[in-house]
């Protein structure tokens, strides 16, 4: 069982990969060949290497919409979105897979299973990822008391791994594009694409989740 490690591969110049997966319906749709390259742009200096960017998530529709939004948003860097339903990733195309710069776990708070899959998947990440290259995205957070409870456990999980939690409104266009732009912000930093001297670790100290203090329980 291969551990996914961020630094085991040399980054490709000017590309990025996003991996989106769907764990509720089928387990086997991993690594759809969804290399969504944007034809860029020669003026981009070759100094940029491409961030690879993975979403592990459970709703195909949201996944692909989000992937599209991310790719369309980013004009300077080739962002490459890949989909997966869970970790570990299959061994077969391990060779051709680009370096993954950010792993995003998408948790649908309506489904208990969604959180369980994410919890299991975390074991297959190398510890290097937890220095700012993992983030959680939750959907359906405004969906009743049960979702609130699950959100709390997601936050606890994220806090224990020093990761940020991003809430997404996946039903509206605006919500998706906002989620995409947030992920891109993190991605660019974690892939070293940010023009400023900021590291993923540093950004994660600013954005990481802290265990919420419950003042009003309901």
């Amino acid at each position: 069982m291969a551990l996914l490690a961020p630094y085991s591969k040399i980054p490709e110049p000017n590309t990025a990969t996003v991996l989106v997966s769907s764990q509720l319906r089928c387990v086997c749709v991993v690594l759809t060949p969804k290399h969504l390259f944007i034809a860029t742009v020669n003026y981009q200096l070759a100094k940029f290497s491409g961030p690879s960017f993975r979403l592990v998530e459970n709703e195909e529709k949201f996944q692909s919409k989000l992937a599209d939004a991310i790719v369309k948003r980013e004009k300077d860097v080739n962002v490459n979105v890949r989909l997966a339903c869970r970790l570990p990733l299959p061994v077969e195309n391990g060779e051709t897979r680009p370096r993954v710069d950010l792993v995003v776990f998408i948790v649908n708070l309506l489904f208990e299973r969604s959180l369980q899959v994410v919890e299991n998947s975390l074991n297959h990440l190398s510890s290097d990822y937890f220095l700012g290259k993992v983030c959680f995205m939750v959907t359906d957070a405004r969906c009743g008391a049960l979702a609130q409870e699950r959100l709390l456990s997601v936050k606890k999980l994220a806090a224990s791994h020093r990761c940020p939690v991003i809430c997404a409104e996946h039903q509206t266009e605006d919500g998706i594009s906002m989620a995409a732009s947030r992920l891109l912000t993190i991605l660019k930093v974690s892939a070293g694409q940010s023009p400023l001297a900021t590291t993923a670790l540093y950004l994660s100290t600013l954005t990481r989740c802290t265990v919420p203090f419950e003042l009003y329980e309901d």
């Binding site: 969906c143 509206t172 990481r208």
Partner: protein, 721 residues
């Protein structure tokens, strides 16, 4: 709607019919209904089914009774699709609660009892009498009460219900019913209902069951009406105590209401409508329970009360202000400015309490926890709703605490774009809270959103926090805090905060923004817009002592100060000059106050030191052309700096922000010169001419700064405090 017309209950005639009959006695109701049916709808299966159901007698065999089953199904289908007329409601309620159709069917009927328009209160009163008979199972009783709570707003009037308050109250001892009964009582309680023996009873129950939220809510209302009777201390910000609404009913109800709205509105002739309120909120916000308000003190006499909705002008309001009856649905107050004016000058605590309760519930249930109907429809609805709250809050110049606690919850699930402007506006209205709560409830969620967002969102966060600070300061200067004072306008909202607590909260806010700005500017490469929003904030901060008499001076962090000082646009530097000038004024005042009397809060020594450091750095940089020199706080390693004479590159002549002015000045002075030698500006009288030239361009902040700190002509005079 075409198929509705053949349902007698829903056709307009049916309505009128039912309205007449709801006022008349109970005994002839079924007769009239039957007659009505015979006249109108012999062939209508729904009517036939109702007809059949009304004739179900005690002791009818239920099990295996296909005919009963068939008729129930007919009624159920219609009910879920179109809702039931008032008559049908009362008929079915009677059938269900009398258990004529058996216990199972009782539950079943209750579950599809969706009113199309209103619920006649007689039916409810009759049901309470069935409740008193005590034959129903606990399940059925609970279900019935929850149904009443769900449709409470639709009950046509409540005076008779209020008159059987005592009966309803007696159920409070039933442990299983208690939460629901408390909720119902909460909605019904008037001042005359609050009696010593009732309070005693509730206290007994509380001793037995513990501090249950529903009991506390009810006691809070009691306390508002008769504070002398309830000695218990009620927490100021209670979490919403009742969770008794049933979402399936709600969903069905709102679906039916949406469908029927047009017709219902036409038929009921609800006279006052909320202008600009989206109509699908109408159920919750329809302004009125127009029919007969029970008089609050004496049910027999005809006391002259004025309903708010009857008033048309402010003069009328003034004339009747002593005997105004509030509408039963407090949410309707939000829609009318007259009502808000009334609320503002009367400061009716029960009104505030109920309004907050309603508002909290609406926000929580309708918005926070129900994204199902995630269409743009409900979003625009929510945005209108929030704007309404916002304008009410602005009108009253205070926030509702239910909005506040909603915001805290919402922030933790916010994606940062949903209703962004309204949420941030509402956020800027939150009243003062203690610094620890502020950190946990507001700052923690915001910080994650802030650092993962784009520069424009960052700007709006800073702007929001600036306006929050503004409001706090204004509030504090209007209601100065002594050692310990009641912060709240309403006593139900008692937050006591001392001046030092206030200072703590302000300090927390300012240092939080300092952190956000420092890191944000770094991440955004000193974006000019973000820099200016940050300076906006510090313009508020630097004047807290002079403008708001708050003895706090907090200097901007280096991460804000230096980017502003070395900015490439002149306005930013000018604003920084103004801010430093104001800081100086404030600190001078603080020093004077300190010397005068000992008791005031002291500005700490380090603040003065920080100020002096920044002042020296700024004067050295702009005026003396020796920044970053060894020995100063902002020292640059000589070996690292490859720029020759780097110290002279940020004075007023060479500063990138003023470069353009220097060139222009140079050209004006020596038009014949071919090569530009800016150093010649710094010599002799040219220098003061240049300063004059610069200040003529409108750099007033800089002008103030230079005049105060350098005494104009001298080139060495950095006077520190």
């Amino acid at each position: 709607m075409a198929d509705l017309s053949d349902l007698p209950g829903l056709s307009s005639d049916g309505f009128r019919e039912s309205f007449v009959s709801s006022g008349s006695g109970l005994s002839n109701r079924s007769l009239r209904v039957a007659e009505n049916v015979r006249k109108k709808g012999e062939t209508n299966p729904f009517q036939l089914a109702l007809n059949y159901l009304s004739n179900v007698q005690e002791g009818t065999v239920v099990r295996g009774n296909d005919e009963l089953e068939r008729n129930l199904v007919v009624v159920e289908t219609v009910a879920l699709r179109h809702g039931l007329s008032p008559d049908a409601i009362s008929l079915l309620l009677d059938l269900a609660l009398s258990l004529r159709a058996g216990g199972v069917n009782c539950l079943r009927i209750l579950k599809f009892l969706i009113p199309a328009s209103v619920v006649p209160q007689e039916a409810i009163v009759r049901c309470v009498s069935w409740l008193c008979v005590g034959k129903m199972t606990i399940n059925a009783q609970v279900l019935f009460l929850r149904w009443v709570l769900t449709v409470f707003d639709l009950i046509d009037c409540k005076d008779q219900l209020r008159s059987i308050y005592g009966f309803i109250f007696s159920f409070v001892t039933e442990e299983n019913l208690c939460p629901f009964i408390c909720h119902l009582l909460y909605l019904l309680t008037m001042k005359e209902h609050v009696q010593p023996y009732r309070v005693r009873k509730l206290m007994d129950i509380q001793a037995k069951m513990g501090r249950q939220p529903f009991l506390m809510q009810l006691l809070a209302v009691f306390k508002v009406f008769r504070p002398e009777l309830v000695t218990l201390s009620v927490p100021s910000r209670m979490k919403t105590g009742f969770k008794n609404y049933n979402s399936t009913w709600k969903a069905a109800l709102s679906a039916v209401q949406k469908k029927n709205r047009a017709e219902v509105m036409a038929d009921l002739r609800l006279s006052v409508e909320l202008k600009g309120k989206s109509t699908s909120r109408k159920r919750k916000l329809h302004h009125l329970e127009v029919p007969g308000f029970s008089s609050a003190f004496d049910t027999d006499s005809e006391r002259k009360v004025c309903c708010l909705q009857e008033l048309r002008s402010f003069t009328q309001l003034l004339q009747n202000i002593h005997n105004i009856e509030l509408p039963t649905q407090m949410g309707s107050l939000l829609g009318s400015s007259l009502a808000l004016q009334y609320l503002d000058c009367v400061q009716d605590e029960s009104a505030f309490l109920r309004l907050n309760f309603w508002l909290g519930h609406a926000l929580q249930e309708e918005f926070l926890l129900c994204p199902e109907e995630g269409g743009s429809d409900s979003l625009s609805e929510a945005s209108v709703f929030l704007s309404k709250i916002l304008s009410s809050q602005q009108f009253l110049q205070e926030g509702f605490f239910s909005t506040e606690s909603f915001l805290y919850k919402f922030l933790s699930v916010w994606d940062g774009s949903l209703l962004c402007s309204q949420i941030l506006d509402l956020l800027s209205h939150i009243p003062l809270i203690s610094s620890s709560y502020l950190r946990v409830l507001v700052f923690e969620p915001l910080i994650q959103l802030y650092f993962t967002s784009n520069v424009f969102f960052k700007c709006s966060i800073i702007e929001c926090l600036n306006s929050m600070l503004h409001k706090w300061l204004t509030w504090q200067s209007v209601n100065p805090l002594d050692e310990c004072i009641d912060l709240s306008v309403n006593t139900n909202n008692t937050v006591t905060m001392t001046l030092s607590g206030f200072i703590d909260a302000v300090t927390e806010l300012v240092s939080f923004v300092g952190r956000l700005a420092t890191e944000g500017l770094r991440l955004e490469n000193c974006h000019i817009l973000l820099l200016n929003h940050t300076l906006n904030f510090y313009e508020t901060v630097c004047d807290m002592l002079v403008k708001y008499a708050l003895p706090v001076v907090i200097m901007p962090p280096a991460g804000v100060f230096y980017p502003a000082l070395l900015a490439t646009d002149s306005l930013t530097v000018d604003r920084l000059g103004y801010i430093m000038y104001r800081y100086r004024t404030n600190l001078a005042l603080a020093k004077k106050q300190e010397q005068k009397n000992e008791n005031t809060f002291h500005i700490s020594r380090t603040t003065y030191q920080d100020f002096n450091k920044q002042l020296v750095a700024m004067v050295n940089c702009l005026w003396n052309s020796k920044p970053f020199l060894p020995g100063t706080t902002s020292e640059i390693d000589v070996h690292l700096s490859k720029v020759p004479e780097y110290w002279s590159h940020f004075d007023l002549v060479h500063h990138p922000a003023f470069f353009k002015y220097a060139i222009e000045f140079h050209q004006k002075c020596w038009p014949e010169r071919m090569c530009v030698d800016l150093a010649s500006i710094k010599v002799g009288r040219y220098r003061s001419w240049y300063m004059e030239f610069l200040f003529c361009q409108g750099f007033d902040g800089l002008n103030d700064f230079i005049q105060v700190n350098t005494g104009q002509s001298s080139s060495s005079g950095s006077s520190s405090l």
